[in-house]
Amino acid sequence: MSSKRGFSFYAGRVLFFLVVALIAVYTIFPFIWTVFTSLKSEDELFSTPTTYIPTHPTLANYAAVFQNEKFIRGLFNSAVVSLSVVLLSLAIGSFAAYALGRLKFRGKRPVMYIILAMTLFPQVAILAGLFAVVRELNLYGSIGSLITSYLIFTLPFTAWVLTSFFRSLPGELEQAALVDGATPLQTFYMILLPLSAPALVTTGLLAFISAWNEYLFALTFTLTTPAAQTVTVAISQFTGVIARQDPFGEVMAAAVVVTIPLLVLVLVFQRRIVEGLTAGAVKG
């Protein structure tokens, strides 16, 4: 068995690493460029041709962003909305998941199909009707409208992922508990839930990110009430504090501020996230 260490082998390896480097650059470049841009002074922003690394880095854009009330308010609103939605979805979704994953009852299959179909529901289609509901519940222009409407995508998703997780748990613990006289509900919150902590964290994280990311509902329900706007709306409607038109420096700084916490979350929990995303998809 001769080892083929000839030219073609090394050429292949070089090509391979070139491709890897290309992919890495393509993936990361826009973000790095955003960071650099956020550090540029206003005159350097639109210099032609563009500069990459700022010649005189400045934190002026960040200072402006943190003075931007609408933006700060947006961050706060986004945090409140996303957190509330996640907690609600996890609580209600885990109840549903327990029923679907561990209990026997008639009509289980259609219910599961409905929940699965709901994860594919096109939000924009019901925008008009949802607006009517929000108005009738007196929630228009408040973050309550968002907490309510976001459940349309976080709840089915949470229920679905937790259902497949619960189904994968072994049944002996529950049976032992039942023999000891526990009710099904007790086995649920004393045994199943603690066991599910990792799945709850992952699902909660994914739900958080999708709630944070949401734009359509936030734009529709809070466009005329800046006090309730989330950060996605705030960024899209950004008016600069120091710059007058096209405050891209500040927008880039805002982009970095919005993204950093998400990135940290994603990087810390990345294994979980990838598992969660693919488990939901691959297992179907």
Binding site: L103, S149, Y215
Partner: protein, 349 residues
């Protein structure tokens, strides 16, 4: 009075009512646990869907409380969906051949003759066309590139972990934020990075383009943004599918003389089919209802179905009409979802 709990193998001495058996209790508990979920889904999904459906037959206006609402039957749908193909003879202007109320959406030539695709709602037909073009292009690109990236990252190499981490970055950035970033990157002059790279650094283009303002360039630009955001995610999804495939089958195939390409075609692809299918469906549905990237990057310059619906509702304030658009979107996606569920069920049986 039977006090011994019945085991599955023995018949109970006394027949208990449905409520008292373990099965009955389970059923009751299950329904109880499902009630909050269903309540919420009714309020935020089913009821709005019904409301939208009902409103599509009216001329209701947005934020006009007190105005009288009329039932207009299928008028909204007629206005939305009336499309005709009209021949345009040489020398005639479109205005002379188009029927009343119809405007030109696009034209094409076939066998020497020019034909106009005319619609009563030209903007809708164009939004529909844009959305379909966007969906097909981005899904195909994202699948192919995602597969390529997944294959690359699947091989063992140093820094693979860092690579997979890096691939999560585009996914983690909110769509609106990445649209804003790319909006700046697509700046008209060479102040925009894209222009600078293509014109000055790589010399691929002769001069800077106004990407977001030029009709022909808008679609490629927005597809590029979506590809950037989604390919890493697709790759991760496909990677998960790839890693389930055991490595020894490749060794066996190599011993049998199969080339790398043959291995890929005959072994990898078929084994990857379920994952590809799922990725395909999710991406297609996401692309058909794309809103964020269209709203931020191109706004009124190029509409998708979603931004069109949004504009009709909040801009033109045509509540009834936008409901018809919504119903159309829903039906389109619903049909696709049904196809998906059927195919997937066939896969898993």
């Amino acid at each position: 009075m039977a006090t011994v709990a019945s085991t599955p193998a023995s018949k109970p001495a006394v027949r208990r009512g449905r409520e008292q058996t373990l099965g009955g209790r389970q059923t009751r508990l299950a329904y109880l646990l499902l009630i909050p979920t269903f309540l919420i889904l009714v309020v935020v999904a089913f009821y709005p869907l019904g409301r939208t459906f009902m409103a599509s037959f009216t001329d209701e206006l947005f934020a006009h409380p007190g105005a009288i609402v009329h039932n207009v039957g299928l008028d909204n749908y007629r206005q939305l969906l009336s499309v005709q193909i009209v021949a345009l003879p040489d020398g005639k202007r479109p205005a002379e051949v188009l029927p009343d109320g119809y405007r030109e959406s696009s034209r094409f030539t076939l066998m020497g003759g020019t034909y106009i695709i005319a619609a009563t709602d030209r903007d809708f037909i164009q939004a529909l066309g844009n959305t379909i073009t966007f969906t097909v292009s981005s899904v195909v690109l994202e699948l192919l590139l995602g597969l390529g990236v997944a294959m690359v990252v699947n091989s063992k190499f140093r820094g693979r972990g860092a690579m997979r981490t890096a691939m999560l970055i585009p996914w983690a950035i909110p769509t609106v934020v990445s649209a804003k970033i790319w909006q700046f990157m697509f700046n008209d002059s060479s102040a925009g990075v894209i222009n600078d790279l293509l014109v000055n650094k790589l010399h691929i283009l002769p001069e800077s383009q106004a990407w977001l303002a030029t009709n022909a360039l808008q679609m490629p630009a927005i597809i590029a943004v979506d590809v950037w955001k989604t390919v890493p995610f697709m790759a991760l999804l496909l990677l998960a599918g790839l890693q389930i495939i055991p490595g020894d089958i490749y060794e066996a195939a190599a011993v049998d003389g199969a080339t790398g390409f043959q291995q890929f075609l005959r072994m990898t692809l078929p084994l990857l089919r379920p994952t590809i299918l799922i990725a395909l469906i999710f991406r297609t549905l996401d692309a058909l209802r794309a809103f964020d990237v269209f709203a931020v990057l191109l706004g009124p310059k190029l509409r998708s179905l979603a931004t069109y619906d949004f504009e009709k509702l909040t801009g033109s304030q045509l509540y009834g009409y936008s409901s018809a658009v919504g119903v159309f979107i829903f039906l389109m996606l619903f049909i696709f979802t049904v196809i998906y569920m059927t195919v997937l069920r066939v896969e898993t049986e």
